[in-house]
Amino acid sequence: MSKMYVGENIIKVDSKEKVIGKALYPDDLSFEGMLYLKIKRAVHPHAILRKLDISKAEKLPGIVKIITAADIPWVKNFGLIIKDQPVLIGIGQKMRYMGDALAIVIAENKEIASQALRLIEVEVEKLEVISDPIRAIEKDAPPIHNNGNILATHYLEKGNIEKGFAQADLIVDKEYRTSFLDHIPLQVESGLGVFDAKTEVITIWAATQWIHDTQADMAQALGLPKEKIRIIQPAIGGAFGKREDISVHLHLALAAMLTKRPVKLTYTREESMITQSKRHAFIVRAKTGATKTGYLTAWQVEVIGDTGAYASSGPAVVRKGLYHCTGPYNVPNVKGVAYTIYTNNTYAGAMRGFGTTQMAFAYESQMDILAFELGIDPVRFRLQNAYEIGSSTPNQQILNTSVGVKDTIQEAARMANWKEESR
């Protein structure tokens, strides 16, 4: 086997320019005559926009233009999996979380743009704010989107769950809850846009983890052919899943098109946290059966993933979490259901692990509780149930190569100086 790269210390090609401060991240770029954008965000997490008065803000010296939904009737919704996210909320339309955009303020400098935000007057008709997915699925809960609050339902079945529980000497039934998490990449969302009036090509300098998907999504939202959108990735100050979704891109494109000048938009950290995706908050109800001798017989789960106001990668993340419900442990009988639920929280999407870390909290806690109740050492209990070559996962994939979990558990126990408990 070639030893090239594997196990070798390779100098990263871009590390020199990064240590000397010459690597250019979006906010480090600028153009002559550039304008600065700020976004007027929602004033309530769930409300119908009744009035949007930009007249005072427009009069502020240094304001070049303020774009509202009325200026861009041709623009369509965007989204990674489902196109459910509006570019700007129009009169009579709903804001679904605090990050929804109401207006794009374009000014000669950042400060004037910030000041103008405070001069925009907004009137809304408030609706019930749904911050809990359990409330969201109740019959009388107001629908956040037209098709109700259950965005997706996924099922999982392997073996015979009733038979599995019948074989169990011990059944542990618990509920676990995890919270939203922000990726907090050190660089906030930022980008530049330039519209070339001759070629009608929009060039965007901004981060994306899906450069071609972002291009395609922008094109469909703006009603343009893909070749009219060019995305250039500058150096990126961290992503971790947060940059899978569109952030500054469409607002930059519209501002560049409508002003015919180079434009820049950089979020504040607060704006980044309010507006862009999160790790899903999960509710996991897990019921696990095991024999006296410490072998798992059945595992049943119900997963409720709070995907917030928009779909983003939500359906894929929550489904992936469901598939990992038993962790790296052999269970012959598995049954599960996962719901991806809309709420008025900031939307949740991809983040390191894609739904599996939340599940790990649930299944490893279950394993500890089972080991305790059975009076078996938790390391031994894990080892005797861990995957090996030939094991089958909850979605019945047969693992036929490179299954390292037992070695990993043993190594972790060694490093922790784990001594088997005798009870």
């Binding site: 871009d14 990064k18 240590v19 480090d28 907090i184 050190l186 150096a235």
Partner: protein
């Protein structure tokens, strides 16, 4: 309103600069927007992340929490001011060699924090390194490599110093 102008003078990366600014401009913005030294980054604007770290009057500071006029008469070093005669600072070299650079956004601040730490304490232990960079976040969570890099740089700098001493003796 920030239409009020004033002129300040300071030395930045060895160069004397005189520049017009306002009492409402942050030193970070002056460095990035007016001097175009974009190696100094903004991560939070509230002194929490350390991406905007500079060395001002021989001290590590968060440039987002300094008003531009407060830097009048100051001596400032930014990431662009490290290294001599086109050669990288040993700390920068160590960051490259140990793979302590991932997205790179924390790197300028980290390198400057390391610089200051090693100036004050040439032989830091792991706990002291951690305290020295405790005002700088790395969200790629590359701390292990960063600590390794600072350790390596400390060793090299000590070695360098000893060699120089040796040379002096021979002379």
């Amino acid at each position: 309103m920030s239409t009020h102008k004033l002129t300040i003078e300071f030395i930045i990366n060895g160069q004397k600069r005189k520049i017009e600014t306002t009492p409402f401009t942050r030193l970070l913005d002056l460095i990035r927007d007016d001097l175009h030294l974009t190696g100094t980054k903004e991560g939070c604007g509230k002194g929490e992340c350390g991406a905007c770290t500079i060395i001002m009057n021989h001290q590590l500071v968060a440039s987002c929490l300094v008003l531009a006029p407060q830097a009048d008469g100051a001596e400032i070093i930014t990431i662009e001011g490290l290294g001599e005669k086109g050669k990288l600072d040993p700390i920068q070299e160590a960051f490259i060699e140990t793979g302590a650079v991932q997205c790179g956004f924390c790197t300028p601040g980290m390198v400057l924090a390391a610089k200051k730490l090693l100036e004050e304490n040439p032989h830091p232990n792991i706990e002291e390194i951690k305290r020295g960079i405790s005002g700088n976040l790395c969200r790629c969570t590359g701390y292990k490599k960063i600590i390794e890099a600072i350790n390596l740089a400390a060793k090299r700098l000590t070695q360098q110093l000893e060699e120089e001493k040796g040379k002096e003796k021979n002379v």
